[in-house]
């Protein structure tokens, strides 16, 4: 009983702090001096360098989705709609969520490890002695980078996933690519793509803030850094999976 109480209290406190950090670090992005160099560095390291893994994930997800959709639709003679089903599922759900999970693994982990190491080696304390707020200097550039990169990577993944599906439809089940395209374009709407990208903005914020938060809370040497990293990845992934449901329910046009 005592334990449950403690856990709930902890949860409430952590949530409050995470919410405060999200607001502050986002606001700090626009407060001079603007940290262009640091932002660009993170755009490159965490965004551009994630392209290969997002590419692989998208192409194979699109491919396998086309394959499954084709045979499932074939059962009631509707296999012509493969392109529609693939396009809509990918852009609204699969690509935003899977990219989010991949970035949670890749980027949350590195943020919590980098910042956690800076905490245990007193570099974060040293920042303070120079009158520098770690939220402004360490967290804001990371948040900025992911707010930009998460939706762009999602858009890239959407395109690659659709291409993967098209390739599999054409080569594996011998569907005419023109049919795939025409069904895709007749079903897919701009809002399908946009609602996925809007969700991914939130996922990007989650990934950056959760990684930084558990990094800043690190205690006790190398072991502490390891613990922070694991916690960050797990918590970011859980938030992405659960919040996805609610975003889908809330966002206009995402259920049509």
């Amino acid at each position: 009983m005592k334990f449950i109480q403690q856990a709930l209290l902890n949860f409430a406190r952590n949530s409050g702090e995470i919410f405060a950090i999200s607001l502050k670090s986002t606001a700090f992005i626009f407060k001079p001096p603007l940290n262009f160099r640091r932002i660009i560095n993170h755009l490159y390291l965490d965004g551009i360098k994630s392209i290969p893994v997002i590419f692989l994930m998208s192409v194979f997800t699109g491919g396998v989705l086309a394959l499954q959709s084709y045979y499932a639709l074939q059962r009631f003679g509707a296999e012509v709609f493969t392109g529609s089903l693939v396009g809509v599922s990918l852009t609204k759900e699969l690509i935003p969520v899977l990219s989010g999970l991949i970035l949670a693994g890749r980027v949350s982990a590195s943020y919590s490890a980098e910042i956690g190491t800076m905490v245990v080696t007193e570099q974060v304390d040293a920042l303070f002695t120079f009158g520098i707020n770690p939220l402004k200097y360490l967290v804001s550039p990371r948040v900025a980078a992911l707010l930009v990169m998460a939706p762009l990577l999602t858009l890239f993944g959407d395109f690659m996933g659709i291409m993967g599906g098209r390739l599999v439809a054409a080569l594996v089940v011998n569907q005419n690519p023109n049919l795939y395209d025409s069904q895709l374009f007749s079903a897919l709407e701009i809002w399908d793509v946009l609602s996925g990208m809007i969700k991914s903005v939130f996922f990007g914020l989650t990934i950056a803030v959760i990684g930084s938060y558990f990094g800043l809370k690190t205690e006790g040497g190398a072991k502490g850094v390891g613990r922070a990293t694991t916690t960050a990845v797990v918590v970011a992934s859980i938030i992405i999976l659960i919040s996805d449901f609610f975003w889908t329910k809330i966002l206009p046009f995402s259920l049509r």
Binding site: E122, F130, G131
Partner: protein, 248 residues
């Protein structure tokens, strides 16, 4: 002048500071000695406002910094130069960038900044061409000296060293001792040093304070400490395993 009064701090169940009283005179070198885990680093972090006490006050030139808001703290902290126990150099920046980081005047040209950087490196006896090196390529002694250079480049009123000689060979330790004396003398700044090393403490201090069991149990000029009758202090300065002191 820094006045610490009845400072208390506990973490979870553990009481670390239990009523610290200490005066630190301007322009002097005050050394705080005490066993590992006695709370020296914790005391330090209170003085610059990195930690908030449970109760008690720390007045710096009359202003109680424990009462300040976060924004005001970011201003007062600029008075301090801090040399952390492990150096705390920013490992993503070069040595030169680390030292330049401390230069708090925003309207300097790049040339003036790099002049202050090489001046500061020169003060700690490091060659100018170390500028481009990354901190993880330095030895422990060099790291400490770069950390000192970074602190003095800031031109602080108060400089604090957390175990500046720990882990260094005796010669390097003495070089650091001389550096601390030189920095203190050359610019009329107040120095606070944490150390385990009694040789250093006797050599550099105007005043030595002994932290034990959460309090300052004795303080005075080096000769007072050398000749103390306090059995706890005697045990520590003579380095005896057996005695009244409880080492946790």
């Amino acid at each position: 002048m820094i006045q610490i009064r009845d400072l208390h701090k506990s973490f979870a169940r553990k009481k670390v500071l239990a009523g610290v009283d200490l005066d630190i005179e301007p322009g002097q070198i005050t050394t705080i000695i005490g066993a590992s885990g006695s709370g020296k680093s914790v005391l330090f972090k209170h003085i610059i406002g990195l930690l908030k006490p449970d109760s008690g006050s720390i007045r710096i030139d009359g202003e109680d910094i424990t009462k300040l808001r976060e924004r005001e703290l970011y201003r007062t902290v600029l008075k301090f130069g801090m040399v952390f126990q492990g150096g705390a150099l920013f490992d993503s920046l070069t040595v030169g960038e680390n030292v330049a980081f401390g230069i708090m005047k925003p309207d300097l040209t790049a040339a003036e900044v790099s002049r202050i950087v090489s001046l500061s490196l020169d003060q700690v006896g490091l060659p100018d061409d170390i500028n481009q090196v990354m901190p993880n390529e330095l030895s422990g002694g060099m790291k400490k000296r770069v950390a000192i250079a970074r602190a003095i480049a800031k031109d602080p009123q108060i400089i604090m060293y957390d175990e500046p000689t720990t882990g260094l060979d005796p010669i390097m330790a003495d070089i650091i001792n001389n550096l601390i004396i030189k920095v203190n003398g050359s610019s009329k700044i107040t120095s606070i040093v944490i150390t385990h090393n009694m040789v250093s403490a006797y050599k550099i201090s105007d005043k030595i304070a002994v932290l034990y069991d959460g309090r300052i149990i004795e303080s005075g000029v080096p000769d007072d400490i050398k000749n103390t009758r306090n059995p706890f202090v005697r045990q520590f300065i003579e380095g005896q395993a057996d005695g009244p002191m409880q080492i946790r």
